[in-house]
Amino acid sequence: MKTRYSPRSYIELWSWLFAALTLFVLLAGAVLLLKDSVLVWKHEGTEILTGKEWFYRSETFGAAAMIYGTLIVAVLALLIAAPLGIGAAICTVEYLPARWRMVIKTMIEMLAGIPSVVYGLLGILILRNWIYQLFEDFEILSGDTLLTAGILLGVMILPTVMTLADDALSGVARAQRIAARGLGLNATDTIFSVSLPQALPGLIAALLLALGRAMGETIAVFLVIGRQDNQWPGELFSLRPLVESGQTLSSKLGGAEINIAYGQPLHWSAMVGLSFLLLLLVVGLTLLGLWIREHSKHTSYDK
């Protein structure tokens, strides 16, 4: 029989209080977004999800192309940042002498401190030209492409992935590694059999945090993605759209259209609806990530 729960210390009381506050803030935010976007849900129904066209003046609000762009850019960013960041973390934790670890970690964290607008400028000044030259043979229209945005975002979230992965890996007890080495596994075997499996929850957390940031990032993407509406790809899995301009939910929100929308109830609610969609998207992917994480925890007990 459980007795009714009563907190027994200040630290506990205080923790509950702030946790409740956080929850409240998020709920309030979500409710606000939902409330402000009611009009567009009524107007479009599910069309907002599946509609491939967004023309605000004819009141057509379909976000499919933007959702596509958001996902592609985020996936590209992860494809770049995940191997690079986790690889670097593995190197610092498992291969390099301990004193190097903090040096490299601190350096890479510096990358996180470069403001997004500066990343955007770097994107305009350097990256977009590289892409433009690299894919010249594909007759691309300009260097503003989904790929450009993906790469730029990848670099932006790299420090997040790297430093969190580093934390997760260094949290694995040394005795476990030494036990594996004692059995004759080499350093790399040990990584795959001991460190990575045990750090997996932390690694997934790192990727989820990075993914969240990637999807919510506005300014840098805004400057290099081209911001072309209605770029629904002819073939969903072809690579061609990667080297064409596109739009993400957040680059749309960061643009000037929000100024036009302000004061026009339906249009405004459509823009707010986009933020809500972005939120939903992050929820979905997060749930997926957490599910994978739970799943991986269970399987680690089997052989």
Binding site: L121, M162, G171, A173, T188, G216, T286
Partner: protein
């Protein structure tokens, strides 16, 4: 090599050396790959930073740091932008630390049901996924309109704090969960209560996560424009705030954001890169300040 009578494989030495060679190869490849990752990451950093340094170093001087902006950024310094950003970051840190500690402890220590824990984790990841621009919009509705604060540094600090909360909190939670159970058992065995165990075992061993998270978060907050441009910062004219209501500050990212898009005067450009350089330097300084503490924690936590 002596013959092994009880070995399991039919032809031990041969198949052994084959698998050994394979593993050796994987080992070398892996070392190469991860080394390359470190190298590439560092090169990226060096490349980007040196790009900014080359363009911005010319602007850097004592006057630049201590002077007030003149000719809309084409001359003078960025004193109040710098102070404003510092103030925002400080506020954000003050806001986020108790919140993050609270959430993390509730999630990983006080909640006993796995389902409840997962809910908190979910909430945190959700918050992390909220685009910064949405923070700005919601913040504007709440602080500027409901509270009637107008633009206020406090609103900006709170929003930035909330924005980086998930990063700080999740990092902390991960570290708390990595604290070996045996330590907790040993402390409880000595008669320490849950709260005392938190203070004496859990926090000391996981506080590094708070540092990492805070640094990452503040680094991000330092460069963010979207959440503060509706709520806390203006382009020019503000100095140090004297109250809460109607007391905006200037800030570096917003300064860069506006001038990068529309400044006509070429002299502004060098100053702009100078501002970016200062911003990076600020973040670097933050990391350096935390370094001794982190190194110490690293040593302590290098448990067996």
């Amino acid at each position: 090599m002596t013959n092994r009578e009880k070995s399991h494989t039919k032809n031990p030495s041969k198949s052994d050396s084959k698998s050994r060679r394979k593993r050796r190869l994987i080992h070398e490849l892996m070392r190469l790959f991860t080394g390359f990752c470190v190298l590439l990451s560092c090169c990226l950093l060096l490349g980007i930073v040196s790009f900014i340094v080359i363009r911005g170093l010319g602007a850097l001087s004592v006057d630049f740091l201590t002077g007030v902006m003149a000719e809309v950024g084409a001359s003078g310094g960025i004193l109040y932008q710098l102070l404003g950003t510092l103030l925002l970051l400080l506020t954000a840190a003050v806001v986020v630390i108790p919140l993050a500690l609270g959430c993390a402890l509730v999630q990983s220590v006080f909640l006993t049901r796995e389902a409840h824990r997962r809910n908190i984790t979910l909430v945190l990841y959700l918050l992390n996924g909220v685009p910064s621009i949405v923070f700005g919009i919601v913040g504007m509705i709440v602080f500027v309109q409901w509270f009637g604060w107008g633009k206020s540094w406090l609103a900006g600090g709170i929003l930035l704090g909330l924005m980086i909360l998930p990063t700080v909190c999740v990092t902390l939670i991960e570290r708390i969960q990595a604290v070996p159970k045996k330590y907790i058992e040993a402390a409880r065995g000595l008669g320490l209560s849950r709260a005392q165990t938190i203070r004496s075992v859990i926090l000391p061993q996981s506080i590094g996560g708070l540092f990492t998270g805070l640094l990452l978060g503040l680094a991000r907050a330092a460069g963010e424009t979207a959440p503060i441009m509706f709520t806390a910062t203006i382009f020019s004219g503000a100095t140090l705030p004297s109250g809460v209501k109607e007391s905006p500050v200037l800030s570096l990212p917003y300064h860069i954001f506006i001038l990068a898009q529309d400044s006509y005067d070429p002299a502004t450009k060098a100053k702009l890169w100078g501002s970016a350089l200062v911003l990076i330097f600020l973040v670097f300084l933050l990391s350096l300040l935390a370094l001794p503490a982190r190194l110490r924690i690293h040593e302590e936590a290098n448990h067996l």
